[in-house]
C-alpha cells in the first residue's frame, strides 16, 4: 500500500469516516489511526510488524522510566545518583533501538565489508552474512524514537503517559514509508487532545495531496523508466549529453518522488487534523550546500543537526567548536543511514568534505570582510549569488552519481561518461508534449517561489472559490489523462 496507490481511494475514505464520525475523543481517534497504520504496515510485511511493535513498547517503556527519574528539585548528591541512573536507562534504550536498526540494516553490509577486507589478506568467509528483510520504515521509526528518548533524557519534553498516542506518534501510516521524521515536542501534544476538523485543514490537505501526487505520479513516475533507469543501467554505452540528461532527470525524479510523497503525507495528516513537519522547501533554489541541507529532507537533517551535530560541537569532547569535523561525522552517518553500501558512504563523505571545505572558505571570506567591508557587498551581489547557485547545484547533482549508481564501478563509468570519455548511445524514446509539460511544471514550481512568483500565487489564492475550483478540476482531468498508470516503487521506502 502506498499513499499514491489506487487502494487509497478505498482505504482513506474509510479511515477518515471512522476517525471523524466516531466520538470526538483522542482515544478513539488514536485507535482509528493505530488500526489504519497496522493495516498499512501489514500490507508490506506482516511478519515484521512485531518488530515495530516491540521497538515502540521498548522506547515507550524507557521514556516512562526516565520520566519516573526526575532530577529537578533534588539535592546535588542525590541528583548525581539519579543522573547516572538516567544515563544507564538511556544507554540501554539507545542500544536496543540502534541495535535493532543495526542488525536489520547493516549486519549484512558490515559482514560483507569485513569479509572483503579479511579476504584481501587471505582469510576467506570468516563471517556469516546475515541478510534479513528490512522492516518497513525502520530507518525512520528508529530516529523518531531515538529523538524522543533524547528529548525526555534532556528533560526538554515530558515522558508520554499514553501508550496508544505514543504508538501512533511513531507509526502513523503516512510517515511510515518515507517520513517526515517527527519530533516529540511538536507532535505528541497533538495526539493527546481530540482533533477538530477545520476548513483550512481540508483545503490545505487536499492541495498538498494534489500537488504531491502530481510531483510523484506525473513527474517522477514518467521520468524513471524512460530517462533515468536506462541511463544508469548501462552508463558506459551512452553519450555525454545523454548522461547529463539522465543525471538531471534523476535529480528531478528523486526530488519529485520524495518531496511529492512527503507532501502527500503532510496532506493526509492535515485531513486527520494533524500538522506533520515540512520536509522540503525548494532545495534547488539553494545558493550554498548548507542552505541546501536546510531545504532538502528537512526532517532528517534537522534531526541530525539537533541530536548529533549540535551536541557534538557544543559538548566537551574534541569536537567542541570543530564545525568541519562535525560535518564529516554527520554526513558519514547520513550516508550510512541512506543505505548499507559503499556508494552511499562515498556520497556522504563527499558532502561532509564539501561542507567542511565551504566552512573553511567561509571563515577565510569573513576575514576579508573584516578588513574591507566591500567584500560584504560583493557577496550580496547578483553575480556572486548566481555563481554560488551554479556551484552548489552542480555539486549536488554530481554527487547523485554515486547515490544512484548500483555500484562503485558503475558510478565511475558514469563519471567518465559525463566528461566525454564514454559511449555514444542515445535514448530510444522521442520526447514530446509530456516531457515539455513536465519541464514547464518543474520550472513553474520553482519560479513561484522567487521574484514576483509569490505575488502571482497570492493572486491565484485571492480568486473566487468557484474559479479556483474550475482550475483544480482541469488539473485533475489533465492528471487523469497523462499520469502513467501504476506508480513505481517509491525510492525512499528502501531506507
Amino acid at each position: 500500500m502506498s499513499l499514491a496507490g489506487l487502494e487509497m481511494v478505498f482505504f482513506l475514505p474509510l479511515a477518515l469516516a471512522a476517525y471523524w464520525l466516531g466520538p470526538r475523543r483522542a482515544g478513539w481517534q488514536n485507535a482509528v489511526l493505530a488500526l489504519a497504520s497496522v493495516i498499512f504496515y501489514l500490507s508490506w510485511n506482516p511478519r515484521l510488524l512485531a518488530v515495530l511493535v516491540a521497538a515502540i513498547l521498548a522506547s515507550y517503556g524507557a521514556g516512562a522510566w526516565l520520566g519516573a527519574l526526575p532530577t529537578e528539585g533534588l539535592p546535588e548528591a542525590e541528583a548525581g545518583v539519579v543522573r547516572r541512573r538516567r544515563r544507564r536507562v538511556l544507554t540501554l534504550a539507545l542500544v536496543a533501538q540502534l541495535g535493532l536498526l543495526g542488525v536489520f540494516k547493516y549486519a549484512g553490509f558490515f559482514a560483507d565489508s569485513l569479509n572483503a577486507l579479511l579476504g584481501a589478506v587471505g582469510i576467506d568467509g570468516a563471517l556469516p552474512i546475515l541478510r534479513l528483510a528490512l522492516p518497513l520504515g525502520i530507518s525512520y521509526t528508529t530516529l523518531v524514537q531515538v529523538g524522543y528518548l533524547l528529548e525526555v533524557y534532556w528533560e526538554r519534553a515530558p515522558a508520554c503517559r499514553d501508550p496508544l498516542a505514543y504508538g501512533v506518534f511513531v507509526g502513523f501510516f503516512p510517515q511510515l514509508l518515507a517520513g517526515p521524521i517527527v519530533r516529540a515536542r511538536a507532535m505528541l501534544p497533538q495526539y493527546l487532545v481530540p482533533r477538530r476538523l477545520a476548513a483550512d485543514d481540508v483545503a490545505a490537505g487536499a492541495a498538498a495531496l494534489l500537488l504531491g501526487f502530481t510531483m510523484k505520479a506525473f513527474v517522477a513516475d514518467w521520468l524513471s523508466p524512460r530517462v533515468v533507469d536506462p541511463v544508469f543501467a548501462h552508463p558506459a554505452t551512452f553519450a555525454t549529453r545523454t548522461l547529463w540528461v539522465g543525471l538531471l532527470g534523476y535529480a528531478t525524479q528523486l526530488f519529485s518522488d520524495f518531496a511529492g510523497y512527503s507532501l502527500m503525507a503532510l496532506g493526509t495528516g492535515r485531513l486527520f487534523g494533524l500538522a506533520l513537519p515540512e520536509n522540503f522547501r525548494h532545495p534547488f533554489l539553494s545558493k550554498s550546500l548548507a542552505e541546501l541541507w536546510r531545504r532538502w529532507h528537512i526532517s532528517l537533517n534537522t534531526w541530525l543537526f539537533d541530536y548529533l551535530f549540535a551536541p557534538l560541537t557544543t559538548g566537551r569532547s574534541w569536537f567542541r567548536g570543530r564545525t568541519g569535523a562535525g560535518f564529516l561525522v554527520v554526513f558519514l552517518v547520513s550516508g550510512l543511514w541512506h543505505g548499507a553500501t559503499w556508494t552511499f558512504v562515498l556520497w556522504g563523505l563527499a558532502h561532509g568534505v564539501a561542507l567542511a571545505g565551504h566552512h573553511a572558505y567561509d571563515g577565510f571570506y569573513k576575514g576579508l570582510c573584516r578588513k574591507d567591508r566591500a567584500w560584504v557587498a560583493r557577496r550580496k551581489s547578483r553575480g556572486y549569488g548566481l555563481a554560488s547557485w551554479v556551484v552548489t547545484q552542480l555539486f549536488f547533482v554530481l554527487t547523485l552519481v554515486p547515490f544512484r549508481a548500483p555500484s562503485l564501478a558503475a558510478a565511475v563509468d558514469f563519471g567518465k561518461g559525463l566528461v566525454g570519455l564514454g559511449g555514444s548511445g542515445r535514448l530510444a524514446e522521442r520526447f514530446g508534449l509530456q516531457a515539455a509539460a513536465i519541464t514547464l511544471f518543474f520550472v513553474a514550481y520553482h519560479l513561484l517561489e522567487v521574484g514576483p512568483g509569490p505575488r502571482w500565487l497570492q493572486r491565484f489564492r485571492d480568486l473566487p472559490a468557484a474559479v479556483r475550483g474550475v482550475a483544480y478540476g482541469l488539473v485533475v482531468a489533465f492528471l487523469m489523462v497523462y499520469t502513467p498508470l501504476g506508480a513505481s516503487t517509491f525510492i525512499y521506502a528502501q531506507f
Partner: protein, 344 residues
C-alpha cells in the same frame, strides 16, 4: 456567518466547482474518445442467471463477438435459442478454468429445493480460442498480471488472495476493476491503462501525417507477424493444456455438446510462414484434441469473410459491422447447427 463557516463555504464551493469541471471535461472527451461499453464477466453472469441460456460461449474478449451472433441466433429461432457469451479478458486456459469453477459452475449447477436444476436449458458450449491462449502465463519477467482472474473475482476471492499473498500487483487488478465499475459513465476512469484519450486528443489537435500513420501501421503489422510466427514453439503449454482438459472434461461430463472454435485473426497479420507453422500446428493439435474428446471443431482463423478493415485499431477485435457480417456467415455455415435442436 463566522469566519470558520465562511472558510467551509469556500471549501465547499471550490470542491463542487472542481467536481463539476471534472465531470464536464470528462463528458466533453466523449467527442474525441467515445465510451465503448464492453460485456464483462459480472454482467455476463447476471444475464446468465436471468436468461437461462441454451448455448454458453466461453472465451477471451473475442467471445464478445458472440453478443451479435447471439442476437441473430435469437432472431432466426424466434427466441428458442438463447446464447450467453462469458468473455474472460486476456484469455488463456487457466483463467478460463478459474472462471468456470468459481463463477459459471455455481450458477450452472444451482438446484432448487426439489433437486432440479434452476437453469436446465443449457445444451451446448462453444469454446472460443486461438493459439495465444495456449501459451504460458509467464511473460519472461514475471507472470502476466493484466486483469486475469482478478477480472472474474468477487470480493471474497480478493480477500482470500490478500490474506494468502498480501497486496500484490495481481490482486490489485481487482481493485482497479472495482474502481472502474463505480464510474461506468466516465471516459477518464475507463481510459486508465488504455491511454486512448491522450492519443485521441493528440490526433484531434494535430492532423496526423498520413505517411507517418502508415509507417506506424506497417511497423505494428510487422510486429504482429513476428509475434505470431514466433509462437510456434510456445503453443500448447503443459499447464494450459491441463487446464483445458479440466474445462472440456467438465462440460462433456455434464453431457453438453462442445464446439471448439478458432477465432478469426486479422488477415494482414498472418504471413504464409505463420499459416504454415504456428497456425497450422495449433490447428492440427486442436483438431486432434477435439477428435479425441468428441468435440466439434471449427477453424475460422483464416477461413472467414473478414478483411483487415473489419478489425479495430488493436488488430485483435472485430468492429461492429464486421461482427454482423461474420455472425451471418457463421450461422449460414459452420455454426448453422446452432439453429437446429440437439437430441437429448
Amino acid at each position: 456567518m463566522t469566519d470558520e463557516a465562511k472558510r467551509w463555504r469556500n471549501v465547499a464551493v471550490t470542491a463542487v466547482c472542481a467536481l463539476a469541471t471534472l465531470v464536464a471535461v470528462d463528458q466533453a472527451l466523449r467527442l474525441v474518445a467515445p465510451l465503448k461499453p464492453l460485456l464483462e464477466i459480472d454482467e455476463a453472469m447476471e444475464q446468465y442467471e436471468r436468461g437461462d441460456p441454451t448455448v454458453l460461449v466461453l472465451g477471451s474478449s473475442h467471445a464478445r463477438s458472440f453478443v451479435v451472433l447471439g442476437r441473430q441466433l435469437a432472431e432466426r429461432t424466434g427466441g428458442a435459442e438463447r446464447l450467453q457469451p462469458v468473455p474472460v479478458e486476456w484469455g488463456k486456459y487457466t483463467p478460463y478454468l478459474w472462471t468456470l469453477e468459481h463463477r459459471i459452475a455455481p450458477v450452472l449447477e444451482q438446484t432448487a429445493a426439489d433437486g432440479r436444476l434452476v437453469r436446465p436449458s443449457l445444451k451446448r458450449v462453444i469454446f472460443v480460442t486461438e493459439w495465444w491462449d495456449s501459451t504460458t502465463l509467464d511473460i519472461g519477467n514475471g507472470l502476466l498480471t493484466m486483469a486475469l482472474p482478478a477480472r472474474a473475482w468477487q470480493w471474497k476471492d480478493f480477500w482470500a488472495d490478500v490474506f494468502e499473498n498480501n497486496l500484490t500487483s495481481f490482486n490489485q487488478n481487482f481493485l482497479q476493476r472495482v474502481w472502474r465499475g463505480l464510474w461506468p459513465w466516465s471516459v477518464l476512469v475507463q481510459d486508465r491503462g488504455h491511454e486512448n484519450v491522450a492519443g485521441a486528443i493528440r490526433d484531434a489537435l494535430k492532423r496526423p501525417d498520413a505517411a507517418a500513420k502508415q509507417a506506424v501501421y506497417d511497423a505494428r503489422i510487422a510486429e504482429w507477424q513476428k509475434m505470431i510466427e514466433g509462437g510456434v514453439d510456445r503453443i500448447c503449454d503443459a499447464e494450459q493444456m491441463a487446464a483445458l482438459d479440466r474445462i472440456v472434461g467438465y462440460f462433456t461430463g455434464r453431457g453438453l455438446e462442445v464446439t471448439m472454435l478458432l477465432y478469426p485473426r486479422k488477415p494482414g497479420t498472418l504471413t504464409d510462414k505463420a499459416k504454415a507453422t504456428t497456425l497450422a500446428r495449433f490447428s492440427l493439435r486442436m483438431k486432434a484434441y477435439a477428435d479425441a474428446h468428441g468435440l466439434r471443431f471449427v477453424d475460422q482463423t483464416s477461413q472467414n469473410p473478414l478483411t483487415d478493415a473489419d478489425f479495430a485499431d488493436d488488430f485483435d477485435h472485430v468492429l461492429p459491422d464486421g461482427n454482423e457480417r461474420w455472425a451471418r456467415w457463421a450461422l449460414d455455415g459452420a455454426l448453422a447447427f446452432l439453429t437446429k435442436g440437439v437430441a437429448r
